[in-house]
Amino acid sequence: MLLHILNRSPLDSRVPEQALISMGPDDRLLLIEDGVQGALPALAVHFDGLEGRLFALREDLASRGLLSRCDKRVRLVDVADFVTLTEEAERTVSWY
């Protein structure tokens, strides 16, 4: 199981599509930086099929005013949880 880390929004970037086609059936996806826009309900549809495996970094949501606007299927993590996610995965792949 790999952890994919994505910092681009599906609104204007095609990098999220590259991350998605590279994900195996058990792989996890963590949204950080501008990538947390993807946690908005209107954009989270891009990540359909990742239920339970889709995470977003709480501090990046908070700084952007997105914390209260998050889709319910997105699991919120802080930076300590981010460390845990990297421990639990065999390795990480970052998409930017």
Binding site: N7, V79, A80, F82, R91, T92, S94, Y96
Partner: protein, 130 residues
Amino acid sequence: MRYAILLLGAPYSHQAAHSALRFTRALVERGHEVAGVFFYHDGVQNAARLAAPPQDEPHLVDGWTALHAEHGVPLQVCIAAALRRGLLDEREASRHGKSGHSVAPPFELTGLGQLVDLGLRCDRLVAFGP
């Protein structure tokens, strides 16, 4: 576990450096070993010793330097990427006949082989891009 960090984004221009510094600090707090932070692509700008951000903004160069001072984390800068971008330590400056330098310890200019070495001998490599 043993971790390596790869940083590809310049400070200020992108959030990558902020994310990397904060994640690295969280690794140290968890008790992990950080075998090195490797600066490549525009990430080499993190070593710019003359960076002078406004006082109310985070100073990334100082942030990395403090991380090294407190926890001995090696700060390795790709020499080829750095030279092209005007980041030279005293030795490279004199080798290229330039007066002055723009990189100082604890940042070390090193070869790209270090990245491969770090990536393959650590349990995890986590990359932060622009």
